[in-house]
Amino acid sequence: MEERYYHQWLQNMKNLTARYAQKLLQRFPEPRELLDAPENWLEEILPPAQFRELLERRREVRTVYGMQEEYERLMEKGIRFVSCHEKTYPRRLLEIPDPPVGLYYRGSLPGRDALSVAVIGSRECSEYGVYIARELGAFLGRRGVDVVSGMARGIDGISQQAALEAGGASYGVLGSGVDICYPASNRSLYDSLIDRGGILSTYSPGTPAAGRNFPARNRIVSGLTDALVVVEARVKSGTLITVDMALEQGREVYVVPGRVTDRLSDGCNRLLKQGAGVFLDPESFLEELEELAFLKKIKPERSDEEKNEEGESGRKHWPTAEVFSWSRNTPRDMEEELVPVWEQLDLTPKSLEEIGGALGGRYSAAELGVLLLRLVMTGRAKQISAGHFCRL
């Protein structure tokens, strides 16, 4: 228990990177030793700035009580801390280079058994991205796969929301303290993540969100997962930084292909050209992932013997009857006059004029608008703006 306070103390040092923190832990497996370690030993390990910070912090804290107090104060607020020496520390993070010394979290930590997938992509995403993220998140949620992401606007949040709504678990890794909801517009997602998953962060509570925190955050996102799915990304995009880190960490990277003319898919298509895994549908993706996980022996309990041994104890069993298909919405029960209009709709928003033009001027603008609205009301279409519609 006491050990945890020292880990927290170490984790709270602003300038100390995970790399040097891990070096310190190698030299001093008991972090309490750091308080009495000879200065020249520390100086050997740390660069000057980090060395100075450690000395300063060391001078401030000569007893463990201050640390304990702080720890308990956070506990009261529902904020937990786990150190890399503890059993509950996410096992996947231990595999990555320089895992963080500890993690703050609210809610719970990712379980050890379930597969874990990061769904990431652009904040300003298209309707296509929204659709894929939602379908994928919901599918993973239904199949008991953890969805990990950054709780950002756009793809991140949408996939997490969908996973939670489908009854799955999801974990959000923040670039701020776990007590800060960023972006504020995702407040309800933040609350339900605490309820049915967790909010994780390496930053001490109270740290405001800042741009420079996000690359380090992305490292944890990919570190927590078995595979990464990139839904939409421009060529210059933070998402691609996450992909680089995932590759460094040996994670599988899957990419949703897009049209070559879509700027929001440029980053994705480029990754595909470089040899990333092709994401065609959630079903085949999950199959491949389970296969790989088996090969990697990430899930040793997959062998029949062990399965029988474990029985109902740990893993849940998911119905496998579902066969995924993109074209689920075959309009069989649709009113006849709506069908031709519906067929013109796409995931990319189309303007009313475009749709009208494709139908060869069969309808006046007002008539067409009314037909489209009826599609919206029956849940077949979505009105993006005053004049734009897309399929749902």
Partner: protein, 512 residues
Amino acid sequence: MYSTILSGALLGVNACLVQVEVDAASGLPAMSMVGSLSGEVRESRERVWAAMKNMGLEIPPKHITVNLSPADLKKEGTAYDLPIVVGMLEALGYFPAGKARDILFLGELGLNGEIRQVRGVLPIVREAAKIGVREFIVPKENAGEGAVIPDVKVRGAATMGEVLGFLMADAAERGAILPAQDAAGWPTAEGAEGPGYDFAEVKGQEMAKRAAKIAAAGFHNLLMIGTPGAGKSMIAKRIPGILPPLTLEESLEVTSVYSVAGNLDGKSLLTKRPFQAPHHTISMPALMGGGVVPRPGVISLAHRGVLFLDELAEFPRVVLDGLRQPLEDRRIQIARVGGNLIYPSDFMLVCAMNPCPCGFYPDRGRCRCTEPQIRRYTGKISGPILDRIDLCTELQAVDVSSLHRESGGETSAQIRSQVERARKMQEERFQGTEYRFNGDVKAADIDRFCPLEKEDRRFMEETYAKMGLSARSYHRVRKVARTIADLAGEDRIHREHLLEAVLFRPAQEYWK
């Protein structure tokens, strides 16, 4: 000697008569002017003095007193120069006493005796004619606007010499010296055509044209959202042309406002619906009216016409919020130390804006604005103004090839006749009420004027629930549905009218 001459003062766009009294008595030579005069009226003394001297009219050493009555009314403007000089000439005996009786004088004087243009001739002539004044002498440039009033003689004078000659002559010769201006022709159907733009010139943009038609028919305010170059201003400019022609009464109102503002440019009677498109850097007084010498603002110049605010999001919030009262009351009250002025401002508000700062949303391939940026952009428009805009439509960028291909569709004249038909239905509906158009109806009277059948009511509730719309827009959607039904010539609001109104629902529904 004592004399009294008729003149007039402006009160907003209304007017009242002013008596200019001149007394010339023996005493210490001086000229004093009283009667609650503003600076420019006081300066009149110097102009009158110099003009008389330059015309070779000697001013005898007398004590001259000029009083403008009613003395407690603040007198402004330069139109009193002419009545004052006429009064002096009479008091000093330059023409037989009584020759200027029952003639109303207006005009500014140059130092060489010429008579210069003034503002507000039409409203003064109109008011005086009601009281029974039949003869007017005004600056030549203003004669045309005065002459639109029936049964009066309005004579335009270029110099003071002409006026003096006129006053000295016998009744029989007078007409030859200063002929009465011909009455301007009344606006005919052709004369009331829109401002030279036709809807047939707008290619594509069926939705926006439809929205403009509905807006014109029910006097609803309209918001157009679209990428730059989509044709928002093109459509806005054509809206005055699909409104019914100005009636004579409306025409006089509009001309009065322009006359008071000094914007008449020698025209006699305005017969086209005004179209005002102020730039977004406009100041509050310029928009609302005001100034040291209060003048009507752009909203009053748009009276009975269209006020078009392009780049709505760029207008400062305070300026937009200032529109709330005029949109509600259809007139603007300007408070000054000297009293309150009221200018009419019964305009149709047409606004245009980009969907986002870059203008390409929702085309995510091109638009890189972040959601907070878009929210900030749309959030700049004040809610109370949006609450007064019933219709919202979106325009897409038009590619050049379609400009050649597509036919324009209905002409302005065709649309106007539909609008007029719809307005006739509203006239009958609102007879004996405070309302004129569907757009005016207040929330409390919606059930009375826009009734829905029971099942339609349920249908709307369902629609609102399914589409996640807010109750805030419900009344406005119903008013628009009423107008759509009027355009279709239907007494009852049908389901498709309601759905179409939902399609044009107010912008806030997208910006939540």
